[in-house]
Protein backbone atom coordinates (compact mmCIF):
# COMPACT_ATOMS: atom_id res chain seq x y z
CA UNK A 1 0.00 0.00 0.00
CA UNK A 2 2.70 2.40 1.01
CA UNK A 3 4.76 1.83 -2.13
CA UNK A 4 1.84 3.03 -4.23
CA UNK A 5 2.27 6.57 -3.02
CA UNK A 6 6.06 6.57 -3.05
CA UNK A 7 6.26 8.82 -6.15
CA UNK A 8 4.21 11.53 -4.46
CA UNK A 9 6.48 11.56 -1.42
CA UNK A 10 9.60 11.97 -3.52
CA UNK A 11 7.92 14.92 -5.18
CA UNK A 12 7.01 16.46 -1.82
CA UNK A 13 10.56 16.04 -0.51
CA UNK A 14 12.07 17.62 -3.62
CA UNK A 15 9.57 20.45 -3.47
CA UNK A 16 10.39 21.15 0.16
CA UNK A 17 14.13 21.14 -0.59
CA UNK A 18 13.48 23.79 -3.21
CA UNK A 19 11.31 25.81 -0.83
CA UNK A 20 13.95 25.59 1.91
CA UNK A 21 16.60 26.97 -0.45
CA UNK A 22 14.35 29.84 -1.43
CA UNK A 23 13.59 30.75 2.19
CA UNK A 24 16.89 30.15 3.93
CA UNK A 25 19.50 31.29 1.44
CA UNK A 26 20.33 34.90 0.84
CA UNK A 27 22.17 34.46 -2.43
CA UNK A 28 19.93 35.37 -5.34
CA UNK A 29 21.38 32.81 -7.77
CA UNK A 30 20.94 30.10 -5.15
CA UNK A 31 17.32 31.20 -4.79
CA UNK A 32 16.79 30.80 -8.53
CA UNK A 33 18.33 27.33 -8.36
CA UNK A 34 15.89 26.55 -5.54
CA UNK A 35 13.00 27.69 -7.69
CA UNK A 36 14.27 25.47 -10.51
CA UNK A 37 14.25 22.44 -8.19
CA UNK A 38 10.74 23.31 -7.02
CA UNK A 39 9.65 23.59 -10.64
CA UNK A 40 11.16 20.24 -11.61
CA UNK A 41 9.41 18.55 -8.71
CA UNK A 42 6.08 19.71 -10.14
CA UNK A 43 7.11 18.34 -13.55
CA UNK A 44 7.91 14.98 -11.99
CA UNK A 45 4.55 15.01 -10.20
CA UNK A 46 2.60 15.53 -13.42
CA UNK A 47 4.58 12.98 -15.39
CA UNK A 48 4.22 10.34 -12.69
CA UNK A 49 0.46 10.95 -12.72
CA UNK A 50 0.40 10.17 -16.42
CA UNK A 51 2.07 6.78 -16.04
CA UNK A 52 -0.03 3.64 -16.42
CA UNK A 53 1.37 0.23 -15.54
CA UNK A 54 2.12 -1.68 -18.72
CA UNK A 55 1.43 1.37 -20.86
CA UNK A 56 3.81 2.77 -23.44
CA UNK A 57 4.72 6.18 -24.83
CA UNK A 58 1.71 7.92 -26.38
CA UNK A 59 2.65 7.41 -30.02
CA UNK A 60 -0.01 5.38 -31.77
CA UNK A 61 1.03 2.07 -33.24
CA UNK A 62 -0.70 -1.17 -34.12
CA UNK A 63 1.42 -3.18 -31.71
CA UNK A 64 0.22 -1.49 -28.52
CA UNK A 65 -3.15 -0.76 -27.06
CA UNK A 66 -2.31 0.81 -23.68
CA UNK A 67 -0.77 4.25 -23.68
CA UNK A 68 0.13 6.61 -20.86
CA UNK A 69 -1.92 9.78 -20.56
CA UNK A 70 -0.76 12.35 -23.15
CA UNK A 71 -2.34 15.40 -21.55
CA UNK A 72 0.14 15.91 -18.65
CA UNK A 73 2.96 15.39 -21.15
CA UNK A 74 1.71 18.28 -23.25
CA UNK A 75 1.32 20.57 -20.24
CA UNK A 76 4.81 19.83 -18.92
CA UNK A 77 6.46 19.99 -22.34
CA UNK A 78 5.39 23.60 -22.74
CA UNK A 79 6.00 24.37 -19.06
CA UNK A 80 9.67 23.35 -19.33
CA UNK A 81 10.36 25.77 -22.15
CA UNK A 82 8.37 28.54 -20.48
CA UNK A 83 10.30 27.76 -17.30
CA UNK A 84 13.67 28.35 -18.92
CA UNK A 85 12.44 31.61 -20.45
CA UNK A 86 11.22 32.93 -17.10
CA UNK A 87 14.40 31.70 -15.36
CA UNK A 88 16.39 33.67 -17.90
CA UNK A 89 14.34 36.74 -17.04
CA UNK A 90 15.10 36.20 -13.35
CA UNK A 91 18.80 35.84 -14.08
CA UNK A 92 18.68 39.05 -16.09
CA UNK A 93 17.25 40.81 -13.05
CA UNK A 94 20.05 39.34 -10.92
CA UNK A 95 22.63 40.73 -13.32
CA UNK A 96 21.09 44.18 -13.13
CA UNK A 97 20.93 43.98 -9.31
CA UNK A 98 24.60 43.06 -9.24
CA UNK A 99 25.39 46.09 -11.38
CA UNK A 100 23.33 48.43 -9.21
CA UNK A 101 24.29 47.16 -5.74
CA UNK A 102 27.55 45.34 -6.46
CA UNK A 103 26.25 42.34 -4.52
CA UNK A 104 23.75 39.52 -4.92
CA UNK A 105 23.39 38.76 -1.21
CA UNK A 106 20.02 39.74 0.16
CA UNK A 107 21.37 41.22 3.40
CA UNK A 108 23.85 43.48 1.63
CA UNK A 109 21.15 44.79 -0.65
CA UNK A 110 18.80 45.43 2.25
CA UNK A 111 21.49 47.22 4.23
CA UNK A 112 22.27 49.48 1.31
CA UNK A 113 18.59 50.26 0.91
CA UNK A 114 18.15 51.14 4.58
CA UNK A 115 21.01 53.60 4.70
CA UNK A 116 19.81 57.20 5.05
CA UNK A 117 20.64 59.41 2.10
CA UNK A 118 23.52 61.39 3.65
CA UNK A 119 25.07 58.27 5.09
CA UNK A 120 25.01 56.76 1.68
CA UNK A 121 26.96 59.65 0.25
CA UNK A 122 29.54 59.36 3.02
CA UNK A 123 29.63 55.66 2.56
CA UNK A 124 30.29 55.90 -1.14
CA UNK A 125 32.97 58.52 -0.50
CA UNK A 126 34.54 56.21 2.03
CA UNK A 127 34.36 53.38 -0.46
CA UNK A 128 36.01 55.36 -3.21
CA UNK A 129 38.68 56.49 -0.75
CA UNK A 130 39.32 52.91 0.24
CA UNK A 131 39.45 51.88 -3.36
CA UNK A 132 41.98 54.54 -4.26
CA UNK A 133 44.09 53.54 -1.28
CA UNK A 134 43.92 49.92 -2.31
CA UNK A 135 44.92 50.71 -5.84
CA UNK A 136 47.80 52.86 -4.72
Amino acid sequence: MLMGLFNNWIVVVLMMIGLYIVIAHGNLIKKIVGLAIFQTSVFIFYISLAKIDGGTAPILSDNYTLYSNPLPHVLILTAIVVGIATTALGLALVVRIKEAYDSIEEEDIQRQDNLPQDNQVQDSQLLTKNETENKA
Binding site: M15, I37, V81, T86, A92
Partner: protein, 329 residues
Amino acid sequence: MVTAVAIVRMKDLFAVVMLLGLYGLLSASFFVAMDAVDVAFTEAAVGAGISTLLMLVVITMTGRREKAKRHKPLLALFIVIITGGLLIYGTLDMPYFGSADAPNHNHVAPRYINDSMKEIGIPNIVTSVLASYRAFDTFGEVVVIFTAGIGVLALLSVTRRPEDDDDIASHNDSMHERHLVIRIVAKMLIPFILLFALYVQFHGDFGPGGGFQAGVIFAAAIILYAMLFGLSAARKAINQAFVQLIAAIGVLLYGCVGIVSMLNGGDFFDYNVLASDPVAGQHLGILLIEWGVGCTVAAVMIIIFFNFAGRREMQQHSGDKSTQNQESP
Protein backbone atom coordinates in the same frame (compact mmCIF):
# COMPACT_ATOMS: atom_id res chain seq x y z
CA MET B 1 17.21 13.66 -4.88
CA VAL B 2 20.70 13.20 -3.49
CA THR B 3 21.81 15.83 -5.97
CA ALA B 4 19.20 18.22 -4.66
CA VAL B 5 20.43 17.79 -1.08
CA ALA B 6 23.98 18.37 -2.24
CA ILE B 7 22.84 21.59 -3.90
CA VAL B 8 21.60 22.88 -0.53
CA ARG B 9 24.91 22.21 1.18
CA MET B 10 27.24 23.61 -1.46
CA LYS B 11 28.52 27.13 -1.21
CA ASP B 12 30.47 27.15 -4.42
CA LEU B 13 27.94 28.33 -6.96
CA PHE B 14 29.87 26.79 -9.84
CA ALA B 15 29.46 23.32 -8.35
CA VAL B 16 25.80 24.09 -7.61
CA VAL B 17 25.14 24.93 -11.23
CA MET B 18 26.94 21.82 -12.45
CA LEU B 19 24.84 19.72 -10.07
CA LEU B 20 21.72 21.41 -11.37
CA GLY B 21 22.67 20.32 -14.88
CA LEU B 22 23.15 16.78 -13.62
CA TYR B 23 19.79 16.98 -11.89
CA GLY B 24 18.19 18.05 -15.18
CA LEU B 25 19.72 15.10 -16.99
CA LEU B 26 18.60 12.70 -14.26
CA SER B 27 15.04 13.96 -14.41
CA ALA B 28 15.13 13.61 -18.19
CA SER B 29 16.04 9.93 -17.85
CA PHE B 30 13.29 9.60 -15.25
CA PHE B 31 10.82 10.98 -17.79
CA VAL B 32 11.90 8.33 -20.29
CA ALA B 33 11.24 5.68 -17.66
CA MET B 34 7.77 7.19 -17.18
CA ASP B 35 7.06 6.88 -20.96
CA ALA B 36 7.09 10.64 -21.49
CA VAL B 37 9.55 10.71 -24.37
CA ASP B 38 8.60 14.15 -25.67
CA VAL B 39 9.04 15.69 -22.25
CA ALA B 40 12.34 13.91 -21.69
CA PHE B 41 13.59 15.28 -24.98
CA THR B 42 12.77 18.82 -23.94
CA GLU B 43 14.16 18.45 -20.44
CA ALA B 44 17.45 17.02 -21.73
CA ALA B 45 17.89 19.94 -24.10
CA VAL B 46 16.72 22.64 -21.70
CA GLY B 47 17.51 21.45 -18.18
CA ALA B 48 20.87 19.88 -18.87
CA GLY B 49 21.91 22.20 -21.68
CA ILE B 50 20.67 25.75 -21.97
CA SER B 51 19.76 26.53 -18.35
CA THR B 52 23.16 25.35 -17.08
CA LEU B 53 24.83 27.49 -19.68
CA LEU B 54 22.86 30.62 -18.79
CA MET B 55 23.59 30.15 -15.09
CA LEU B 56 27.30 29.79 -15.85
CA VAL B 57 27.33 33.02 -17.83
CA VAL B 58 25.62 34.81 -14.97
CA ILE B 59 28.06 33.39 -12.42
CA THR B 60 31.01 34.76 -14.39
CA MET B 61 29.38 38.16 -13.96
CA THR B 62 28.37 37.94 -10.33
CA GLY B 63 31.08 35.87 -8.67
CA ARG B 64 30.95 32.25 -7.61
CA ARG B 65 31.07 32.44 -3.82
CA GLU B 66 28.06 32.37 -1.59
CA LYS B 67 28.19 33.96 1.84
CA ALA B 68 28.23 31.52 4.72
CA LYS B 69 25.46 33.24 6.63
CA ARG B 70 21.90 32.02 6.38
CA HIS B 71 18.99 33.74 7.98
CA LYS B 72 16.83 31.77 10.39
CA PRO B 73 17.54 28.29 9.04
CA LEU B 74 15.64 26.70 11.92
CA LEU B 75 12.48 28.68 11.28
CA ALA B 76 12.73 27.89 7.57
CA LEU B 77 13.21 24.21 8.34
CA PHE B 78 10.19 24.32 10.65
CA ILE B 79 7.95 25.88 8.00
CA VAL B 80 9.22 23.46 5.36
CA ILE B 81 8.64 20.40 7.52
CA ILE B 82 5.09 21.51 8.41
CA THR B 83 4.21 22.22 4.77
CA GLY B 84 5.78 18.94 3.66
CA GLY B 85 3.90 17.02 6.34
CA LEU B 86 0.60 18.52 5.25
CA LEU B 87 1.33 17.75 1.61
CA ILE B 88 2.21 14.14 2.44
CA TYR B 89 -1.02 13.88 4.43
CA GLY B 90 -2.77 15.13 1.28
CA THR B 91 -1.14 12.46 -0.87
CA LEU B 92 -2.81 9.70 1.17
CA ASP B 93 -5.96 10.30 -0.88
CA MET B 94 -4.10 10.16 -4.19
CA PRO B 95 -4.57 7.27 -6.61
CA TYR B 96 -1.77 4.75 -6.58
CA PHE B 97 1.15 5.07 -8.93
CA GLY B 98 0.52 3.48 -12.32
CA SER B 99 -3.08 2.49 -11.66
CA ALA B 100 -5.16 2.68 -14.81
CA ASP B 101 -8.44 3.58 -13.07
CA ALA B 102 -7.19 6.92 -11.70
CA PRO B 103 -9.62 9.79 -12.41
CA ASN B 104 -7.23 11.64 -14.68
CA HIS B 105 -7.05 8.68 -17.07
CA ASN B 106 -10.82 8.55 -17.49
CA HIS B 107 -11.72 12.12 -18.39
CA VAL B 108 -10.52 13.50 -21.73
CA ALA B 109 -7.52 11.21 -22.16
CA PRO B 110 -9.44 8.25 -23.65
CA ARG B 111 -10.85 10.53 -26.30
CA TYR B 112 -7.39 11.77 -27.24
CA ILE B 113 -6.06 8.23 -27.39
CA ASN B 114 -8.98 6.66 -29.25
CA ASP B 115 -10.12 9.39 -31.61
CA SER B 116 -7.05 11.46 -32.42
CA MET B 117 -5.95 9.14 -35.24
CA LYS B 118 -9.32 9.58 -36.93
CA GLU B 119 -9.65 13.31 -36.27
CA ILE B 120 -6.06 14.52 -36.66
CA GLY B 121 -4.40 11.69 -38.53
CA ILE B 122 -0.95 11.75 -36.90
CA PRO B 123 0.44 9.03 -34.65
CA ASN B 124 2.06 11.18 -31.96
CA ILE B 125 -0.79 11.99 -29.61
CA VAL B 126 1.29 14.53 -27.70
CA THR B 127 1.75 16.58 -30.86
CA SER B 128 -1.91 16.43 -31.80
CA VAL B 129 -3.03 17.51 -28.33
CA LEU B 130 -0.36 20.21 -28.19
CA ALA B 131 -0.98 21.72 -31.59
CA SER B 132 -4.63 21.02 -32.24
CA TYR B 133 -6.84 20.17 -29.25
CA ARG B 134 -5.07 22.60 -26.97
CA ALA B 135 -3.70 25.01 -29.56
CA PHE B 136 -5.01 28.05 -27.73
CA ASP B 137 -3.15 27.03 -24.60
CA THR B 138 0.06 26.53 -26.55
CA PHE B 139 -0.43 29.93 -28.17
CA GLY B 140 -0.44 31.44 -24.69
CA GLU B 141 2.80 29.64 -23.81
CA VAL B 142 4.48 30.91 -26.97
CA VAL B 143 3.44 34.45 -26.15
CA VAL B 144 4.87 34.05 -22.64
CA ILE B 145 8.19 32.90 -24.10
CA PHE B 146 8.17 35.82 -26.52
CA THR B 147 7.45 38.25 -23.69
CA ALA B 148 10.29 36.81 -21.58
CA GLY B 149 12.60 37.33 -24.56
CA ILE B 150 11.52 40.96 -24.80
CA GLY B 151 12.05 41.35 -21.06
CA VAL B 152 15.61 40.08 -21.24
CA LEU B 153 16.22 42.33 -24.20
CA ALA B 154 14.93 45.34 -22.27
CA LEU B 155 16.98 44.54 -19.17
CA LEU B 156 20.28 43.56 -20.67
CA SER B 157 20.72 44.94 -24.16
CA VAL B 158 23.70 47.23 -24.59
CA THR B 159 24.41 49.62 -27.40
CA ARG B 160 27.80 48.80 -28.79
CA ARG B 161 30.21 51.25 -30.27
CA PRO B 162 32.07 50.10 -33.35
CA GLU B 163 35.53 51.02 -32.02
CA ASP B 164 35.01 48.78 -28.99
CA ASP B 165 34.09 45.92 -31.26
CA ASP B 166 37.53 45.71 -32.82
CA ASP B 167 39.19 45.59 -29.41
CA ILE B 168 36.89 42.85 -28.25
CA ALA B 169 37.32 40.93 -31.48
CA SER B 170 41.11 40.93 -31.25
CA HIS B 171 40.91 39.91 -27.60
CA ASN B 172 38.57 37.09 -28.48
CA ASP B 173 40.73 35.86 -31.33
CA SER B 174 43.74 35.43 -29.07
CA MET B 175 41.61 33.55 -26.58
CA HIS B 176 39.88 31.29 -29.05
CA GLU B 177 42.98 30.23 -30.92
CA ARG B 178 43.92 28.07 -27.97
CA HIS B 179 40.89 25.82 -28.33
CA LEU B 180 41.81 24.47 -31.73
CA VAL B 181 40.60 20.89 -31.35
CA ILE B 182 37.24 21.87 -29.93
CA ARG B 183 36.75 24.39 -32.69
CA ILE B 184 37.42 21.89 -35.45
CA VAL B 185 35.17 19.25 -33.91
CA ALA B 186 32.44 21.82 -33.37
CA LYS B 187 32.76 23.00 -36.96
CA MET B 188 32.03 19.47 -38.11
CA LEU B 189 29.20 18.96 -35.62
CA ILE B 190 27.24 22.18 -36.00
CA PRO B 191 25.74 21.40 -39.45
CA PHE B 192 24.57 18.04 -38.15
CA ILE B 193 23.03 19.61 -35.05
CA LEU B 194 21.14 22.07 -37.24
CA LEU B 195 20.03 19.25 -39.52
CA PHE B 196 18.91 17.22 -36.53
CA ALA B 197 16.90 20.19 -35.28
CA LEU B 198 15.08 20.34 -38.63
CA TYR B 199 14.47 16.59 -38.48
CA VAL B 200 12.97 16.96 -35.01
CA GLN B 201 10.84 19.83 -36.29
CA PHE B 202 9.35 17.89 -39.20
CA HIS B 203 9.25 14.47 -37.62
CA GLY B 204 7.32 15.69 -34.59
CA ASP B 205 4.10 14.33 -36.06
CA PHE B 206 5.36 10.75 -36.10
CA GLY B 207 7.86 10.41 -33.29
CA PRO B 208 8.93 12.41 -30.27
CA GLY B 209 9.75 15.96 -31.26
CA GLY B 210 8.14 19.16 -32.40
CA GLY B 211 8.59 22.89 -32.45
CA PHE B 212 9.66 23.36 -28.84
CA GLN B 213 12.42 20.75 -28.93
CA ALA B 214 13.59 21.73 -32.40
CA GLY B 215 13.79 25.38 -31.41
CA VAL B 216 15.92 24.62 -28.38
CA ILE B 217 18.27 22.33 -30.32
CA PHE B 218 18.63 24.85 -33.13
CA ALA B 219 19.46 27.57 -30.63
CA ALA B 220 21.95 25.26 -28.91
CA ALA B 221 23.89 24.84 -32.17
CA ILE B 222 24.12 28.57 -32.67
CA ILE B 223 25.10 29.15 -29.04
CA LEU B 224 27.85 26.55 -29.47
CA TYR B 225 29.13 28.50 -32.43
CA ALA B 226 29.03 31.75 -30.48
CA MET B 227 30.93 30.24 -27.57
CA LEU B 228 33.73 28.77 -29.62
CA PHE B 229 34.20 31.40 -32.29
CA GLY B 230 33.47 34.50 -30.25
CA LEU B 231 30.42 36.67 -30.05
CA SER B 232 31.47 39.12 -32.71
CA ALA B 233 31.99 36.33 -35.24
CA ALA B 234 28.57 34.94 -34.39
CA ARG B 235 27.05 38.42 -34.68
CA LYS B 236 28.46 38.69 -38.17
CA ALA B 237 26.98 35.31 -39.12
CA ILE B 238 23.60 35.95 -37.52
CA ASN B 239 22.14 39.40 -37.60
CA GLN B 240 20.55 40.23 -34.24
CA ALA B 241 17.79 42.37 -35.69
CA PHE B 242 16.91 39.49 -37.98
CA VAL B 243 16.67 37.07 -35.06
CA GLN B 244 14.35 39.46 -33.23
CA LEU B 245 12.23 39.70 -36.35
CA ILE B 246 12.05 35.89 -36.52
CA ALA B 247 10.83 35.70 -32.92
CA ALA B 248 8.01 38.09 -33.73
CA ILE B 249 7.19 36.35 -37.01
CA GLY B 250 6.83 33.01 -35.22
CA VAL B 251 4.15 34.39 -32.89
CA LEU B 252 2.50 36.16 -35.80
CA LEU B 253 2.42 32.98 -37.89
CA TYR B 254 0.83 31.08 -35.03
CA GLY B 255 -1.83 33.74 -34.49
CA CYS B 256 -2.50 34.06 -38.21
CA VAL B 257 -3.27 30.34 -38.53
CA GLY B 258 -5.96 30.83 -35.91
CA ILE B 259 -7.37 33.91 -37.63
CA VAL B 260 -7.35 32.31 -41.06
CA SER B 261 -9.33 29.38 -39.73
CA MET B 262 -11.78 31.89 -38.26
CA LEU B 263 -12.06 33.65 -41.62
CA ASN B 264 -12.78 30.31 -43.25
CA GLY B 265 -15.81 29.90 -41.04
CA GLY B 266 -14.43 27.74 -38.22
CA ASP B 267 -13.48 28.56 -34.66
CA PHE B 268 -10.16 30.04 -33.61
CA PHE B 269 -7.55 27.30 -34.28
CA ASP B 270 -10.10 24.99 -35.89
CA TYR B 271 -7.93 23.60 -38.68
CA ASN B 272 -10.61 21.43 -40.23
CA VAL B 273 -11.61 24.33 -42.47
CA LEU B 274 -8.08 25.09 -43.70
CA ALA B 275 -8.31 22.52 -46.50
CA SER B 276 -11.15 20.75 -48.24
CA ASP B 277 -10.42 17.56 -46.32
CA PRO B 278 -10.53 18.00 -42.49
CA VAL B 279 -7.56 15.70 -41.86
CA ALA B 280 -5.46 17.47 -44.50
CA GLY B 281 -6.46 20.76 -42.87
CA GLN B 282 -5.29 19.47 -39.51
CA HIS B 283 -1.96 18.43 -41.03
CA LEU B 284 -1.46 21.84 -42.58
CA GLY B 285 -2.45 23.66 -39.39
CA ILE B 286 -0.17 21.60 -37.18
CA LEU B 287 2.75 22.00 -39.58
CA LEU B 288 2.39 25.78 -39.66
CA ILE B 289 1.92 26.06 -35.92
CA GLU B 290 4.95 23.92 -35.18
CA TRP B 291 6.93 26.23 -37.45
CA GLY B 292 5.71 29.24 -35.53
CA VAL B 293 6.63 27.63 -32.21
CA GLY B 294 10.04 26.50 -33.48
CA CYS B 295 10.92 29.94 -34.87
CA THR B 296 9.91 31.77 -31.72
CA VAL B 297 11.60 29.38 -29.31
CA ALA B 298 14.87 29.26 -31.26
CA ALA B 299 14.97 33.01 -31.75
CA VAL B 300 14.14 33.81 -28.12
CA MET B 301 16.80 31.41 -26.83
CA ILE B 302 19.37 32.98 -29.14
CA ILE B 303 18.32 36.48 -28.06
CA ILE B 304 18.60 35.54 -24.40
CA PHE B 305 22.06 34.03 -24.77
CA PHE B 306 23.43 36.87 -26.90
CA ASN B 307 22.20 39.48 -24.50
CA PHE B 308 23.68 37.77 -21.46
CA ALA B 309 26.98 37.15 -23.20
CA GLY B 310 27.04 40.65 -24.69
CA ARG B 311 26.50 42.17 -21.28
CA ARG B 312 29.32 40.10 -19.87
CA GLU B 313 31.62 41.07 -22.70
CA MET B 314 30.88 44.73 -22.12
CA GLN B 315 31.53 44.44 -18.39
CA GLN B 316 34.85 42.70 -18.92
CA HIS B 317 35.81 45.16 -21.58
CA SER B 318 35.11 48.18 -19.40
CA GLY B 319 37.01 46.42 -16.60
CA ASP B 320 40.02 45.98 -18.89
CA LYS B 321 39.84 49.59 -19.94
CA SER B 322 39.79 50.96 -16.40
CA THR B 323 42.83 48.88 -15.41
CA GLN B 324 44.64 50.07 -18.54
CA ASN B 325 43.81 53.68 -17.67
CA GLN B 326 45.21 53.24 -14.21
CA GLU B 327 48.38 51.67 -15.47
CA SER B 328 49.13 54.31 -18.08
CA PRO B 329 49.85 57.28 -15.73
